[in-house]
Amino acid sequence: MSVLFILAGVITLLVLLFWALRGPRRDNEAGAPGLESSEDPSRQHATYFGVIRQAMSQEDFEFLAARGPGRLVRRAHKERQRIAMLYLANLRADFQRLLRLAAVIAVLSPEIAASHEFERLRLTIRFFWRYQTVLFGLYAGLLLLPQLGGLSQMVSELAFRMESAMKELGERAAVAAELASTLNRRGLDAT
């Protein structure tokens, strides 16, 4: 029995090792997390929710159900499901990008609070667990657009806040570089 425990431990470690070593999400020269994650949030999928909602309005669907043949209604429903799933997948991608931004902030911070980091880890695990559940729900035929809208708005707000943070970091870096440059010009040792 004890050997089985050890064997289970070794197998778990090996699985985690290869998962952790699986192609890096991003490589750069400095080894620091990529800053390209701070791309223009206006291009994030969450901002397209208005268009998606318009294309999937309940009124249109009801109109189609009242006037159109059953086959067309079923096809329209399937298409709506497909679009919702694609949209949800893209939202997840946006969410991941935002989490990377949070990682940048944590990594570039001289001190971090373990409680905040654990909290984010916990929330991330819960988000992705629930995301899978929602995805399953959509596969099963559920399609709740208003809730998707709430999710979308949340991600957009988060993107905006992160962009402000990155701008602030950039400004600080520029000030620090300017200060170092001034000191060098005056022949002072900045260290």
Binding site: G9, L13, R26, A102, V107, T133, G137, M154
Partner: protein
């Protein structure tokens, strides 16, 4: 020496040659200054091979002297490997002050937890006390390396290929040694030769992996990142966590068909 069998002796000889070559490679590529603990570890494994060879040749493979020399040198080698792993951790995360401060305690904690798990799971037997201790340390080493790589992945820190291969070799060898201690030693104790050859083959494979990793000099030390003010973190992260929490609540709403439409 004949107790060992020709095949084991051959593997041992090849391993010693590769060890010496790796050490030369570390010196020639000036990697010793970047990886002093790892270089010391390789040196000690080579010294261990030499001492064991002399002990076995002088007193025989099954002698008490050879057994004592084997375990005494193994303790030193395990200590050196622990330092090599600590060096690896510092290379990967050491530059990022905030993350490093928390990570090192978590790494130490996870290593200790796995060590205790292994010692408990190995159901203590006095006959195998040294094996059990070694098994625990091997599993703890592997756990620390895995946690380190998970940390790097979570924080999106790129790990240099040289360090990845170093980590992979150290972790795989620790896992192989733990399996060796747990399975072969306990279940197949009649097959001493198999046990020896498996251990040596795993180590030889890791030596080849490390030789490949160190065929080039270590990359230039990267300057420490320009840290932001601590207030940036303290202001943004709690708010972000709060939004993530709300986002999770939104996901729960997906399962409430009667939810009000906004």
């Amino acid at each position: 020496m004949n107790d060992l069998g020709l095949f084991t002796q051959s593997v041992w000889a090849v391993t010693a040659v590769v060890q010496a070559l790796l050490l030369c490679l570390l010196l020639a590529r000036k990697n010793v200054s970047s990886y002093p603990a790892f270089s010391a570890y390789i040196f000690m494994t080579l010294a261990q091979s030499g001492l064991l060879f002399m002990a076995i040749k002088g007193w025989g493979f099954s002698s008490t002297v050879a057994w004592r020399v084997g375990w005494a040198t193994q303790c030193v080698v395990l200590g050196a490997r622990a330092f090599a792993v600590a060096e690896l951790c510092r290379h990967v995360l050491g530059r990022f002050l905030g993350v490093w401060t928390s990570a090192r305690w978590i790494l130490l904690g996870s290593g200790t937890a796995v060590l205790l798990y292994a010692l408990i799971a190995a159901s203590h037997q006095w006959r195998l006390v040294l094996n059990t201790a070694e098994l625990g340390l091997e599993l703890a080493t592997a756990a620390v390396i895995v946690m380190l790589l998970l940390f790097a992945r979570y924080y999106d820190v790129a790990v240099d290929p040289q360090l990845r291969l170093l980590a992979l070799g150290l972790c795989l060898y620790s896992c192989a040694s733990a399996l060796n201690d747990a399975v072969l030693e306990r279940w197949l104790d009649r097959y001493v030769t198999l046990w020896n050859v498996f251990g040596m083959a795993a180590f030889l494979a890791c030596l080849l992996l490390w030789s490949w990793a160190f065929r080039k000099p270590a990359p230039q030390t990267v300057a420490a990142p320009l840290f932001s003010s601590g207030s940036v973190y303290l202001n943004i992260i709690p708010e972000m966590n709060s939004r993530l929490r709300s986002l999770n609540e939104q996901l729960i709403e997906f399962w409430r068909p009667e939810a009000p439409r906004t």
